[in-house]
Structures are given as C-alpha cells and as structure tokens.
C-alpha cells in the first residue's frame, strides 16, 4: 500500500465493513434512495388515479396482462440466477458462477425484448406517451425501469469481468452487482402490481 503510518488506519478501514449487508454497504444507500424516489413516483401515480378513476380503469384494460406476467417471471428467474451466481462464487465454483451470470443477463434480455414488443403493441393500439394520464405514467415508469435494467446490464458486465479472471474475483463486488440486480427486479414487481394488477 502507501506509507506505513497510514497502514493501520487503511487496514482498519478495510476490515470495517462488518458484514451486516452483502456487497458494498454503499450500494444499499443507492437502493434506499432509489426506493424512496420510486415511492415518490408511485405516490404521484396513485394520487392521479384517485382523481381520475374511470380514465385509469379504462386505460388499464388496454394493457395485456400476459406481457406483465411474462416480464415478472423473466425478472424473477433472473434474480434466482444471480442469487445462484453469488452462492457459487462464494463456494469458489467460478465456472458455475459465470454460467449463472450469463443466465441472469439472458433473462434480462428476454425482459427487454418483450417490453419493446409490448410498447410497440400499445402504440399500434393508439396508446402513446401523450395519449392520456394513465399512459403518461405507464410509459414513464416502464421506461425509467428499463433504463435501470440497461444499467443493470453494465453492472452484470462488471460482475462477469470480475468472475472471469482469477486475478480479480472480488466477492464484495459481485455481491454489490447482485444487490443492484435484485433492486431492479424488486422495482419491477412494484410497477407490475401497480400498473397491471391493481384494478
């Protein structure tokens, strides 16, 4: 490391994150903040819904529940895959961990493709971002979630990069990536419940 005087303090700093949480504690700050942010967005949606019940109910009928269910299953499977990846990585089974990481990405890609198809369908039905208040929220929430998913691909890239070579393989970093991915899944479940299910 650097100079000897600082050595003890940096060592302590490295030992400091007592394992209350998996991965970097910092990522959990992000999770908390994003959750608060999305709570804000959901609240705005709910207030709009209360004021405009009929419009929202009517517009919701245009949504295809099958897409929603498929998306939810895809992301749940991806979460399962990343959890297995973390487990395998903990045990040192890096080939399996890598395979699971790619599975995660695969399920995420399935989500992405189906989401785009769903959007195209809705637009063909005449429901666009500017159609009415419900679809404002629908496209906004699904877009911002998709953006998180795309960032998730970058994050998974980092995880794969870490798992690939024995020179790296920071367990903490892999777990941090997994935390982020679970958050993406968690946010989707909330969006699914709010937009598709609650009628």
């Amino acid at each position: 490391m650097t100079n000897l005087e600082e050595n003890s303090s940096t060592e302590q700093a490295e030992r400091k994150p007592v394992r209350f949480v998996p991965g970097q504690p910092d990522m959990w700050v992000f999770v908390l903040f994003e959750s608060l942010l999305f709570t804000g967005y959901f609240s705005v949606y709910l207030i709009g819904r209360i004021q405009n019940r009929d419009l929202y109910l009517q517009s919701q009928a245009d949504l295809d529940l099958r897409f929603g269910i498929f998306n939810t299953i895809a992301l749940l499977l991806s979460s399962w895959a990343i959890a297995r990846c973390v487990q395998a990585s903990r045990e040192g089974a890096y080939r399996d961990a890598l395979r699971d990481a790619f599975l995660t990405i695969g399920f995420g890609a399935a989500f992405l493709v189906s989401k785009v198809i769903e959007w195209v369908n809705e637009i063909r039905l005449g429901n666009t971002f500017t159609s009415n208040e419900f679809f404002e929220h629908f496209f906004f929430l699904t877009s911002i979630h998709l953006l998180h998913l795309l960032i998730g691909f970058v994050v998974m890239g980092v995880a794969v990069y870490q798992l690939w070579s024995p020179a790296r393989r920071s367990q903490q970093l892999v777990e941090t990536c997994a935390t982020y991915w679970h958050t993406v899944d968690f946010l989707w479940v909330l969006i699914f419940a709010l937009l598709y299910v609650v009628r």
Partner: protein, 268 residues
C-alpha cells in the same frame, strides 16, 4: 509559521496569505457562496422558481412578467455579474478527479462540459427572461414565447449535467484513492437519472411531467438539493484530508488531534 489567534479578520488575512490549502478553500467557499446566491436570486429575487405553469394563457403570462418586472431585471443583473463563480467550483471538482487514481481525461472532460453547461442551463434563461421583462408593452404572443424559451431552456437542457454526473461517478467508482465514498458515486447515478426524468418537460404543457410538474420539478428538486448538499460536504472533507500526494487520501484524524492541525478556514 503558527496559526494566529485574534480577530476573525486577522485570521482571514493570515489564511489568505499563508494557508497551504488556500487555493482549495478559495474554490470551496466560492462554490458555497455561489449556491447560496443562486438560491436567493432564483427563488426570492426573481421568483422564477418554483416555476409557473406552462398551461397558462397569454394574459396570465403577461401578468406574471409584470408582477416580477423589477425583480427579474435586477436579479438577473446580479446573475450576469456572478456567473463566473462557477469556474472555481468546476475547477475544484476537476481537481478532485485529478487526485483520484483515474486518468486525467476525466477531470478535463468534466471541466469542459461544465464550463459550457451554464450557458444553455442558466444564462440563456436569464437572457430570455431579461428580454421578456425588458418591454412590458411588447406583443403578448412574443412575451409568451420568451416565457416558454426561458423555462424550457432552463429545465430542458439537462443533458450536459447528466453526462457530467456520469463522468464524475464513473471516476469515483473506479478510483482507488478513496477520494469520495462509493455511495456518493451511486447517488450520482440517481442524480443523472433525474436529468433524464426532466426531459418530458419538452412534451407536456400540463400534468406531472410539465416543467413545473410534481415529477419533473418537485421530486427532481429534492434529488438535486440532496446531491448538491452531499457534494458540498464531501468536497469539504476532501480538502481537509488532502495531503498533496498521489496515493490514497488519508482519513481525517480524530477530533482531538484535528484541532491542533492547521486551521480549516478563516471563519472557523
């Protein structure tokens, strides 16, 4: 040379002349003062924030301008005087990236991006509002157009801030010198995303995504204020910890030993 005691003025003068970190403190204080002035000027003097609605009709807009005639001209006059304060602020942030273990390109990219960001993001609005308030007898349709121009250029040109945030946050996340905590890098991601969220302001004249909407303005403001407060505090910590080396930035010593070290700033 030992730290002087005595009146705040004497201490300030000594610090100005001899403090080893005076350049950094200069930049930090310029930043803090700038944000205070910015808040006062935009919220209290010109009263352009919180923003009015894009859904108003032309007479309401003309009325809005006439109520704020003097505030707009005087307030933005001060903005035209002090906008240069952004430069030391951006310099400090670029410096923070220079202190990291990452390539110098991050710091330079950030410096250039933010150097130009104030023009579409603040000065164009100031100019449009000034021209709008300049002649109250102007054709109302033109005044309405200037109103749109001002608020859309202010809220809708967030791309620069978004990319700038991304540059900074990537630097923070791959940095080995621990200049900033990783959670602040992740917070930068939240901030960058809010710049995306404000883009629908170009599309909607009413509702939660309009330039004054619950999502595009109010929630965004909360994130922006939080982020700004965090980086002001973290930059202060960085300056305090700075050892002018190239390795990891040391942590601050405990409070007992800290009071014996060189003074933190003139007004302490």
């Amino acid at each position: 040379m030992s730290v002087p005691t005595g009146s705040p003025v004497a201490r300030f003068v000594w610090n100005f002349r001899h403090h080893p970190k005076r350049e950094l403190w200069f930049a930090w204080w310029v930043m803090v003062i700038f944000y205070q002035l910015y808040g006062v000027l935009f919220f209290l003097v010109t009263r352009v924030q919180p923003p009015p609605s894009p859904a108003w009709d032309t007479p309401a807009v003309v009325q809005w301008f006439s109520e704020r005639h003097h505030g707009l001209l005087a307030g933005f006059g001060i903005v035209f005087l002090i906008s240069g304060m952004c430069a030391p602020m951006n310099a400090l942030l670029a410096y923070s990236m220079r202190r990291m273990s990452v390539s110098r390109i991050f710091g330079y990219s950030y410096l250039v991006m933010y150097a130009l960001s104030a023009i579409p993001g603040m000065l164009v609005m100031a100019i449009a509002m000034t021209v709008g308030a300049l002649r109250p007898d102007r054709d109302p349709e033109m005044i309405h157009w200037l109103y749109d121009f001002a608020f859309l250029s202010f809220s809708g040109t967030m791309g620069v801030f978004m990319i700038g945030s991304l540059v900074w946050l990537v630097a923070i996340l791959i940095d080995n010198n621990r200049v900033f905590p990783k959670w602040f890098g992740y917070l930068g991601l939240c901030n960058a995303l809010t710049e995306v969220v404000v883009a629908p302001a170009w599309i909607f004249q009413r509702g939660v995504f309009a330039w004054n909407g619950a999502i595009a303005w109010w929630i965004n403001m909360v994130v922006f204020v939080t982020y700004t407060a965090c980086f002001i505090v973290l930059l202060r910590k960085m300056v305090e910890r700075e050892d002018f080396g190239t390795g990891p930035l040391p942590d601050l010593p405990s409070k007992a030993t800290r009071s014996q070290r060189d003074s933190v700033g003139a007004l302490q």
